[in-house]
């Protein structure tokens, strides 16, 4: 039998061999490796990465706002908002994102004009591919964030709510000042995961021709047939962006767990940051 030390040496050796084998296979494949650096910073690719980033940030921001609103409705004591929120979550979490993207893009097919009576606009004019993508991603994200935020709200100790009410804080103030800031702090790790998921999910919008990273790579490779090379270029960008997002998540989590101790009141001025303002 092998000792623990020998086992770990064997494990390392196997890992190295595995990585070497993968490198060998890729190195001998018929990629034009030298093409990759040429396209890595091509203007179209940079523009695509920018669209991907903008789409991610906007959809996440709108998704978080929608999520907080629907989470509030979901935990409300009133039946109607509860049911509406449950229905929303069921619908937008249940339909595949790709289907939703294509749906919003094709809205004009059965709803040529949007508006009321005399005031209406052509659907095709407002519902460009970027808008359709933004709506689809935000609404989908909103459904997931609603469930995440609801979990955060439910995790807050009821005793703190009672204490706030006993001090004379209204229901609304108790929620805004006591429950929500703590709930939002609590959902930071899960939201970070959603952000990373969103970065990659935006590639789905390539089917409706938003000029995102993947679409731009596709434009280029349909012209020059460097399919694998451009997919690798796109992959490198996605990896770089997710690395950035992970870093952001890391710092946010650190900030949330490490409270800024001793900032309050020493000067009579400083205020404890409330999580809500910084996150939403």
């Amino acid at each position: 039998m092998l000792s623990t030390g020998q086992k770990s040496h064997l494990f390392v050796a196997l890992c190295v061999a595995g990585v070497a084998a993968v490198f060998y296979i890729f190195a001998t494949a018929s990629f034009s490796w030298n093409e990759i650096p040429k396209y890595l910073f091509a203007p179209q690719i940079i523009a695509g990465a920018r669209v991907t980033l903008v789409l991610t940030v906007l959809s996440m921001a709108i998704g978080i706002v929608i999520g907080v609103i629907f989470a509030m409705m979901r935990v409300s004591a009133l039946r109607v908002p509860q049911v509406v929120a449950a229905g929303y979550i069921w619908l937008f979490r249940g339909i595949p994102l790709l289907v939703q993207i294509i749906f919003w893009f094709n809205l004009a097919l059965f709803m040529p004009r949007i508006g009321f009576g005399a005031y209406s606009v052509s659907t095709n004019e407002v519902m460009g591919s970027f808008t359709a993508a933004l709506i689809a991603l935000s609404l989908n994200e909103g459904a997931y964030m609603a469930e995440i935020v609801r979990g955060g709200i439910l995790a807050i100790d009821r005793g703190q709510v009672e204490a706030a009410r006993a001090l004379g804080l209204s229901r609304g103030r108790t929620f805004r000042r006591i429950v929500l800031p703590q709930a939002l702090r609590m959902v930071i790790p899960a939201t970070g995961n959603q952000l990373i998921g969103m970065l990659k999910a935006t590639s789905l919008v390539s089917v409706i021709g938003v000029h995102d990273l993947l679409t731009q790579a596709q434009f280029i490779y349909t012209a020059n047939y460097l399919i694998m090379e451009l997919l690798i270029v796109a992959a490198i960008w996605y990896l770089a962006l997710t690395a950035l997002a992970s870093l952001l998540q890391h710092f946010l989590e650190k900030w949330a767990s490490h409270r800024p101790s001793d900032r309050h009141v020493v000067s009579g001025k400083a205020q404890v940051p409330s999580g809500s303002e910084q996150l939403v």
Binding site: D157, G159, Q160, E162, A163, A164, R165, A166, L167, G168, L169, S170, R171, R173, R177, I178, P181, Q182, R185, R259, S261, D262, R263, H264, V265, V266, G268, V272, S274, G275
Partner: protein, 254 residues
């Protein structure tokens, strides 16, 4: 003779179909300290929670400082007061909980000034000055900037007392304030409550600390199965109870 600070009359409270409080009558004079004792499940905490409407009640009335709490009789019908009115009434009634219930995202001072600034509209610097006074009163002047997680149970409960006092309440309710504490911390919390009693604060205290209740209370209320069984001065209730259930309870405990 002035009217009692708290007047509870004919109070009945149900959880669903189960009646947990039966015809409670209790007056507490201004400056009086009344302890409520009794076995668990006897309705002590529920009674306390009715006074600041953390629990609703089905019939009877509670009057604090001349104001009927929670409900109004109009045209012979009993209606709940609007929420804003109830929020306002709660400002005069301080409550201290068994599990402290400090806001964990706020410092000790943040906990204390939250309601005075937000609800009473006090200026922040004034609230902080008052908060400092209260913190030194409970012996925690140096911990103003500490978050609850960095405070011991006894310290958290003392901050919770300061937080309730910051609203300048007319009445303080203590719901088993030392039950969640380790034995060493019990004393520090009790001495704060004792000090308040000495200052003439009107207090209702639900507790299992018999020695403390005997020492600090003007009267003791013994409850069992949702009813007040006996009310009297501590010496009489504890040493020579008239009721068999009271006798039984104290013979087990003392």
């Amino acid at each position: 003779m002035t009217a009692p600070m708290i007047q509870i009359h004919g109070l009945n409270k149900f959880f669903g179909t189960v009646q947990v409080l039966h015809d409670i009558d209790l007056d507490v004079a201004s400056g009086e300290v009344v302890s409520i004792l009794g076995p668990s499940g006897s309705g002590k905490s529920t009674l306390l929670r009715c006074i600041n409407l953390l629990e609703t009640f089905e019939s009877g009335s509670i009057v604090v400082d001349g104001k009927a709490i929670g409900y109004r009789q109009t045209e012979g019908k009993r209606r709940p007061l609007p929420e804003e009115e109830i929020d306002r009434q709660r400002m005069d009634i301080g409550m201290v909980f068994q599990r402290f219930n400090l806001f964990s995202h706020k410092t000790a001072m943040g906990n204390i000034i939250e309601a005075p600034v937000l609800v009473r509209g006090e200026r922040k610097d004034a609230a902080i000055a008052h908060g400092r006074e209260l913190l030194s009163k409970v012996g925690l002047a140096e911990r103003a900037n500490a978050y609850p997680e960095h405070l011991s149970g006894g310290q958290q409960q003392r901050v919770a007392i300061a937080r309730a006092l910051a609203m300048r309440p007319k009445v303080m309710l203590f719901d088993e304030p030392t039950s969640a504490l380790d034995p060493e911390s019990v004393g520090e919390v009790l001495s704060v409550i004792r000090q308040l009693a000495g200052e003439g604060m009107t207090m209702l205290v639900v507790t299992h600390e018999m020695g403390f209740a005997r020492e600090v209370s003007d009267r003791i209320v013994f409850m069992d199965a949702g009813r007040i069984v006996e009310i009297g001065p501590p010496g009489q209730i504890m040493a020579s109870p008239r009721n068999a259930r009271t006798r039984n309870f104290f013979s087990k405990i003392l």
